[in-house]
Symmetry: C2
Subunit: 186 residues, 2 copies
Amino acid sequence: MSLPHAILTALLEKPSSGLELTRRFDRSIGYFWSATHQQIYRELGKLEAEGHIRALPAEQPTRGQKKSYEVLPAGRAELARWTAAPQDPKPYRDTMLLRLRASAVVGTEGIEADLRRHLALHRQQLTEYREIEERDFRPGTGNTRTSPQGRLQHLVLRAGIDLETFWTQWLTHALAEFAELPGENR
Amino acid sequence: MSLPHAILTALLEKPSSGLELTRRFDRSIGYFWSATHQQIYRELGKLEAEGHIRALPAEQPTRGQKKSYEVLPAGRAELARWTAAPQDPKPYRDTMLLRLRASAVVGTEGIEADLRRHLALHRQQLTEYREIEERDFRPGTGNTRTSPQGRLQHLVLRAGIDLETFWTQWLTHALAEFAELPGENR
DNA sequence: GTCCACATGTAACTGGTTACATGATTGG
DNA sequence: CCAATCATGTAACCAGTTACATGTGGAC
């Protein structure tokens, strides 16, 4: 039950249409909660039916026409409730770690190339995050960094940076281990 | 499409019944690919229908009686294929980061307590991983650490340890930031 | 004989993914 | 007027979750 709350957050930051939301999910919000446009339209419909958001008035005949939404007081209240409520961390699932474990049984043939590919992807993501940090949170420039909102946003970005840093380091270490493995295991 | 491969890996390590698999998922494998017994039974049925595994002969009348499975050559081949095939990392989703971003909009009331609770949970998990490392991969004792299989297993465990280390550090940092926030934001 | 733990299973639901359909607007 | 792009949507499917049902065997 997180997608509706991700959408409420995005709409509070700025009222938007479905496609605008989709694009914002591809950028900032999607870094830790991705969604496709199909999911977003479905969820917008539910949120409107529940009275959490409403379409901005401009009488549109549904299809092909842009339809923007804003959050209603009930929606804001629901988001505040959800944010404050305790939630257990959801069980962790990672395919690469699973494949590595499997490769201990069926052989490491082929997986090394994909480790390298993932390393490149994580490095790229890390670069992207660092660019955002440099742009939006450069120290000593009296910017968003000093406001409570800015501090919270920076905290979230730090999590992304540190996570990608972890993955690049771990993948580098894994590849080094592979290089030391005897030939018949590679 | 990862659960069947997680099960194949577990069954190759040791032929088991559904409940035995469930318990092993609660321990080792579940650390990075969790599954409930309902999922496991459903998947065992499919894997058997596809000819990837078979029930060990002992003619059981289905219910209440233990039923063990072993992997067939086709199953091993499928696991090897899947392990070697490139796979994109799946989009990352994290509820706590989403809540933190929402709290920048609707206020941080209540979330601090849950950050503390998560910190305790991650510390506990970290301790558990470190105990496993101490038990199974203590250096200089000529154990599983030196074999290729042992090295791969240790690599996977290191990912768990480093991930939990990251979370405890990040949560600690987040709580420190909260302590500095002006009163009306807490 | 009853209760409890072990063991296998069914059903309904939820959320995310993939593929496709349809209308409006704009530039050439 | 045609193609490309913007925009909203439907449908089918798949995997994970939650709740519940049923049978077996041993302890007391």
